[in-house]
């Protein structure tokens, strides 16, 4: 789960990481009054679950409250990578002497948390990593012992060599960041940049945090940070039913069990000259209700011209899926053709259920995908 910058900042603040003040506005007027209260020049930043917001124009400086209002008016409602901005963070503009990068991530290759820092922070950090990897410093955290003091110190002195005052501050920040990560159940966090102000203070002026979805059940306070307004409505609806849905730009609506098979099915749609309208994984044990929700979501996308079901029954029973299709289509009149492929557990019962309701079913994946792609083309 992604959380917003202002939410990540609150978590950092709770753990003692130096974070500047600031508040969230949902209207230009609110942004103006926050800027007036702060009494300084401000930066107005889009709160959106997408990277590259600075380059997209979602971050603006404002010298006066009136300018903050104007900046917020421009940013609110803006689309960044398909997501509408509904909130901005208004925070004091800082005088920046230096920008560093500090991040922590679960490194899947080694099965450890790795802390990373670079004295060359800022928006081009990935370029720094690619061109001058020697400027990215790392510490691997042994999960048996957690982050040890010498590791935080070693990283901090590499970041600010020859400047003990700053290095000691940085070691403290790094230790508190790691604590934030473990406390929030994050799989990634980042401060980019960690700035040094003119007066020599370190401040985290940006904050990113990714929460492991599997942590939410045992961290209700973190789970409440989810901002459904910042997510696509269909994705929210799918998640409530235990489905995973991602909208794409094509016209062949796909409903598949299992993420790997769902991706392979989309690839096959493309292989046969079509474009998938979505990724939709109905998961392992698929009750008829899940299938009903899946069909509702797919048919609510006006771009869909043909629907494709691809089910390989293992834990998933084909007859459950068949019952779901029949159930769902009782309520809604399908405006587009549907192609159903199923094989595996209870396949025969499924075919009988479908045929009794006037559907036909196939068992070969390639034939079904080809047919669904053709049907989508014939609809145009």
């Amino acid at each position: 789960m992604n959380i917003h910058e202002f939410q990540a900042r609150e978590i950092f603040r709770k753990h003692g990481v130096p974070v500047p003040p600031g508040e969230v506005a949902t209207s230009p007027e609110e942004a103006e009054s926050i800027a007036a209260q702060l009494g300084t020049g401000v930066v107005v930043k889009a709160q959106v679950h997408a990277g590259g917001r600075g380059k997209a124009g979602g971050v603006k400086l404002a010298a006066t409250p009136a300018e903050a209002r104007e900046a917020a008016a421009k940013i609110l409602g803006m689309q960044i990578k398909g997501l509408t901005v509904t909130k901005v963070l208004v925070s004091p503009a800082e005088e920046i002497e230096h920008e560093a990068y500090v991040g922590a991530i679960v490194d899947r290759a080694n099965g450890t948390v790795v802390l990373m820092a670079s004295p060359e922070g800022g928006i081009d950090i990935e370029e720094v990593a690619a061109k001058t990897p020697e400027l990215i410093f790392r510490e691997t955290v042994d999960p048996r012992y957690g982050l040890l003091p010498h590791q935080a110190s070693r990283l901090a002195y590499k970041l600010y060599a020859g400047d003990s005052a700053r290095a000691r501050q940085a070691a403290d920040v790094i230790t508190k960041l790691y604590a934030s990560m473990i406390d929030a159940g994050a799989s990634l966090l980042e401060i980019n940049p960690l700035i040094t102000t003119k007066s020599g203070e370190l401040k985290a002026i940006d904050a990113k945090m990714n929460i492991d979805d599997n942590e939410l059940a045992r961290r209700p306070a973190i789970a409440e940070l989810r901002d459904v307004e910042a997510e696509a409505a269909e994705e929210v609806k799918a998640r409530a039913q235990g489905l995973t849905y991602i909208k794409l730009d094509g016209d062949v609506g796909c409903c598949v069990n299992g993420a790997g098979l769902a991706m392979a099915t989309m690839d096959l749609v493309k292989y046969y000259g079509g474009e998938p309208a979505n990724f939709l994984d109905i998961g392992g044990s698929s009750s008829p209700e899940k299938v009903v929700t899946a069909l509702e979501i797919i048919t609510s996308d006006p771009a869909v011209k043909s629907i494709l079901f691809n089910i390989f029954g293992g834990i998933t029973r084909c007859d459950d899926v068949a019952n779901g299709i029949v159930e769902a289509t009782k309520g809604i009149e399908l405006q587009v053709p549907i192609t159903i492929r199923l094989t595996g557990t209870n396949e025969r019962a499924a075919v009988e259920i479908l045929e009794a309701a006037g559907f036909s079913a196939m068992t070969d994946m390639d034939e079904a995908v080809q047919k669904a792609v053709e049907l989508a083309k014939n609809q145009t």
Partner: protein, 291 residues
């Protein structure tokens, strides 16, 4: 032969009385797997289906019944603990089917297992099957056939699709291993490749990957250096959207985009043939087997 498990493997099922655990225990036994014990704390002393003794802890199952492998079907909140318990009880092979385990818990559990010299498969995986010998997990028994092809995969149903295509084409399997799709897992592609390389039954290897991470790229380089048997790859997710990636840490740590294109290119650079579609797999594997 086969890898990791065969007809001599003595299985304890953790979570044997649960909904999924009981269903799949019956399926495993029907397949011929030696399920010698079950564990559900509080139900020690009872019997499962009048055939399998239940214990309060894995330790009892190992001591009384000589269990040497565990299959875990417990809810996510208890799964990392169940993995550690199995490792601590001297079980050599641990297959964790449960999904939804927090990744920070898995960092500790994988280390704990490694420190005790055990092998973990999963979590969040379909488990493994050595056709004709033993099934530890949920891979449907009717789609496999005993034969010379070793299969390794990160996904579940996509594995079934490929295995079923192989079986229909008359190419059976030595073992099929679903290593799981979570960021932190026990056994990886390279562990399985090495085991298949040593296995006398295996003549060709199928590796099914997907987008994300660098496991496929590492496997590709490993194959060129260390694996003499033919390997055929497949990578799912060529049409997956680039996404609204947050942060740079992922790209910095791996130096990789994790896209299907990059993985396919790395396979090809290292001499691994890649199937464009699952249905193409049998032909390519057939050529690899018969020259």
């Amino acid at each position: 032969m086969a890898i990791f498990a065969d007809s001599s493997t003595r299985v304890v099922v953790q979570g044997i009385t649960g909904r999924d655990g009981s269903f799949h225990t019956r399926q495993m036994m029907e397949y011929g797997t030696q399920v010698v014990a079950g564990v559900t704390p509080g139900k020690g002393g009872q019997m499962f289906d009048d055939a399998v003794p239940i214990f309060d802890s894995v330790e009892g199952a190992v001591r009384e019944e000589g269990a040497n492998a565990s299959v875990i079907y417990v809810p996510a909140a208890f799964a990392a603990g169940a993995i550690c318990e199995a490792a601590d009880s001297g079980v050599g092979l641990i297959v964790c089917i449960s999904e939804g385990i927090p990744v920070l818990d898995m960092l500790r559990a994988t280390r704990y297992v490694a420190d005790r010299g055990a092998r973990l498969i999963g979590p969040n995986c379909p488990g493994m099957i050595s056709p004709g010998k033993a099934k530890l997990g949920i891979i449907p028994g009717q789609i496999v056939e005993e034969g010379p092809v070793g299969v390794i995969s990160r996904s579940g149903t996509l594995t079934y699709e490929v295995v079923w295509a192989l079986t229909r084409a008359g190419m059976g399997q030595s073992s099929c291993i679903g290593i799981g799709g979570d960021p932190v897992i026990g056994t990886n592609f390279i562990d399985c490749l090495d085991a298949f390389e040593q296995d006398s039954q295996t003549e060709a290897i199928v590796l099914i990957g997907e987008i994300g991470g660098t496991d496929e790229q590492n496997a590709a380089r490993h194959i060129k250096q260390n694996i003499s048997k033919p390997v055929v790859g497949f990578v799912a997710g060529q049409t997956a959207p680039p996404g609204r990636r947050m942060g740079h840490a992922g790209a910095i740590i791996s130096g990789s985009s994790g896209t299907a294109e990059e993985k396919i290119a790395t396979f090809k650079e290292n001499g691994v043939e890649v199937a464009a579609r699952p249905v193409d797999m049998p032909d390519i594997v057939g050529r690899a087997l018969h020259g």
